[in-house]
């Protein structure tokens, strides 16, 4: 089974390389140079195919290491990972709409709470202080404008 994980990856990589090569062959030629912009991509595409084929046939010797990694991958944590990913997506989507301070306060608070941090007061303090202080540092000291959003400052 583990051997097949490596094999699946190698098939995905070969597909990726073929897609990459198709795009490389479609690159428009530029007349005045001896080596054009397609040289490196084409070389890389073929190299990746060669390596992926190599991985397909050598997967066995690495099986021991994979097993160790695999056993630490507990299935029960997948929902938590997906939920945090969804929170990060929401964070990115709303960043320029609501502004850095509001979205970050909400994200830090709810993400920490969701991951099991139940000390309400500490959590609230940290999730308000960090974004506000950082916003101040970036916008006023470093002159790097983070999105203000609906807040006036």
């Amino acid at each position: 089974m583990l051997k097949s994980a490596d094999r699946k990856i190698s098939v995905v990589l070969i597909a990726l390389a073929i897609g990459y090569l198709i795009l490389s062959y479609q690159l428009p030629p530029y007349e005045f140079v001896p080596v054009d912009s397609d040289l490196m991509p084409k070389a890389l595409g073929y190299l990746l195919i060669a390596l992926a084929v190599g991985l397909f046939f050598t997967g066995k010797s690495d099986a021991d290491e994979d097993k160790k990694e695999e056993s630490t991958t507990s299935k029960s944590e997948t929902p938590a990972l997906l939920a945090v990913t969804a929170m990060v997506l929401a964070y990115i989507l709303l960043l320029e709409v609501l502004g850095f301070v509001i979205v970050t306060v909400l994200f830090v608070f709810f993400c920490s709470w969701f991951l099991g941090y139940k000390k309400f007061k500490v959590n609230a303090t940290v999730s308000i202080l960090f974004p506000v202080i950082l916003y101040y540092i970036f916008n006023y000291l470093l002159q790097i404008r983070l999105p203000a959003g609906i807040l006036p400052f």
Binding site: Y20, P34, S37, L39, D62, E65, A80, F100, S112
Partner: protein, 496 residues
């Protein structure tokens, strides 16, 4: 400019108020990040980069270097106290450090680690000071052919020396080179692999890749392991005092592994992790009582701790004198320096001698700070290990988002960050090493440029790569480096 004058100028920078401040911030931040298992120096440096914009390049480099060697210094604390290495360079430290802590000698183990780190680091800086300018003066004559060969060797070495499957490391490197071809081609202006998306015309920012592959992927693993209670248990540290006998036992490995670690650090691809293992193994092999190793041997603790810090300073030799980083962390530093308008490489010594000497001088100061910071304060600093994981996770995500947004002001890059985070996570699950990817990504642009420059000179004839003896030598070393994994595998099998 001669070395003495350069060093004096360097110390002038290091002892300026700003210099001291940045060294202190760097080493303190590095120690803390290094201590936290799961977060490494790459993440710390990548998060800092947006704040470095517009800063004096020397001070920025002083800060980043401080974080790097500070993290290797601090990583040993978690290895000793928790048996959970803070960073990969301190895995070998736990072999004898953790047994010592279990015997109630945690304080002594920490003190030994701090003294070994300091010695290894300081000896290595002296060597760095001597060798880097010499190497640069050789490299001044390098043309595109030699540079291509050099970068090729760097990539080959990091792939063959990284842990796990060489095939996977090579695939990781090739994927990194592919990622860098996205965007407008510098020579012909042809847009490549942009799918008509205007956001991709300028290519993918290296910070997006560095933070995604390392920081976001690290966050994913922190989420998985957030309920791991072992981190909360910090034991009583006990006395830090060492006896005369302890010092006598430390002397041998200190002398042996400082230069060995330095050499391993200079070699592309080796770095702190490989050097600490090699030092541990050689020390054990030549020990009079090898059966003490793994049960709290002082020699077994000194060897890897001296070596990993020596290797860290050694890694600055190829970075500063050739402009070719040998590891993931130095690759991120190179990316940051390029952003700041500094091209590390042989000309650095002519154009910006202050950067090199400022960093070298600051490293002497930084190591001293680390010793002071680590010896008396360690029991207090170790409290950082008690930071609740959920808060840490949310804050790291926040820092990543700020980091990426503040350089591009573009939400598109944040989605890319998430995508690279997923890629980094998959890399770890399927044990593909990420350092070859980031190194390839940072070097890829220069590599393609020098390849095409060389071929333009020869009008498309590849024979030009075989006309330079230096390039032939470098290609030969690249090919030889692939022999190393076979040797390594055989030895592992033999050991079993």
């Amino acid at each position: 400019m001669n070395a003495m004058q350069g060093l004096l100028d360097g110390f002038q920078i290091a002892f300026s108020l700003e210099g001291i401040m940045f060294v202190l911030i760097g080493v303190a931040a590095g120690t803390l990040i290094g201590m936290l298992p799961g977060l490494g120096p790459i993440t710390a440096i990548a998060i800092m980069i947006p704040m470095l914009y517009g800063m004096d390049p020397t001070l920025a480099m002083v800060l980043m270097a401080g974080v790097y060697y500070g993290a290797v210094f601090g990583g040993s604390t978690a290895s000793i106290l928790l048996n959970a290495p803070g960073i990969s360079g301190t895995v070998a430290t736990a072999f004898d450090g953790y047994p010592m802590a279990q015997q109630g000698k945690a304080g002594q183990a920490l003190a030994i680690a701090a003294i070994s780190s300091f010695t290894g680091g300081t000896v290595s800086i002296v060597l760095l000071m001597l060798f880097a300018p010499a190497l640069a003066s050789v490299a001044v004559s390098f043309g595109p052919v030699e540079y291509f060969a050099l970068m090729f060797m760097g990539l080959a070495a990091i792939s063959s020396l990284s842990e796990g499957s060489t095939m996977k490391a090579l695939i990781s490197g090739v994927l990194g080179l592919m990622a860098v071809t996205v965007g407008i081609d510098a020579q012909t202006g042809t847009p490549r692999f942009t799918f008509g998306n205007a956001n991709l015309l300028e290519g993918i920012d290296f910070l997006v890749v560095a933070l995604g592959l390392f920081a976001i992927a690290e966050v994913a693993f922190l989420i998985k392991n957030r309920n791991d209670d072992s981190l909360a248990k910090t034991q009583n540290i006990g006395s830090l005092k060492l006896t005369k006998k302890d010092f006598k036992e430390m002397r041998g490995p200190l002398i042996r592994h400082s230069p060995l670690g330095f050499i391993m650090g200079v070699l592309p691809g080796a770095g702190a992790t490989v050097s600490s293992f090699i030092s541990y193994i050689t020390e054990k092999r030549f020990a009079k009582k090898p059966d003490e190793f793994g049960k709290g041997s002082i020699k077994g603790l000194v060897a890897p701790e001296t070596s990993n810090n020596a290797a860290t300073s050694g890694a600055f030799v190829p970075l500063l004198s050739l402009g070719i980083p040998g590891s993931g962390t130095t690759a991120v530093m190179l990316g940051a320096l390029l952003v700041l308008g500094i091209n590390p490489g042989p000309l650095l010594f002519q154009d910006h001698p202050d950067v090199f000497w400022g960093v070298v001088a600051s490293m002497y100061v930084g190591n001293l700070f680390l010793l002071v910071l680590n010896l008396p304060l360690i029991p207090y600093i170790a409290k950082i290990l008690k930071i609740p994981r959920p808060l840490l996770i949310s804050l790291v995500v926040m820092f990543c988002i700020i980091g990426v947004y503040s350089i591009s002001f573009n939400v598109f890059d944040l989605y890319l960050l998430l995508i690279f985070g997923v890629i980094g996570y998959l890399f770890r699950i399927y044990s593909f090493p990420a350092p070859p990817f980031i190194l390839a990504f940072v070097l890829g642009g220069m590599m393609e440029q020098s390849l095409r420059q060389a071929l333009t000179i020869s009008n498309g004839d590849f024979i030009i790569f075989l006309e330079s003896p230096i390039a032939i030598g470098l290609f030969a070393v690249s090919i030889l480096s692939f022999a190393f994994p076979f040797f390594k595998n055989r030895r592992v099998k033999k050991a079993r």
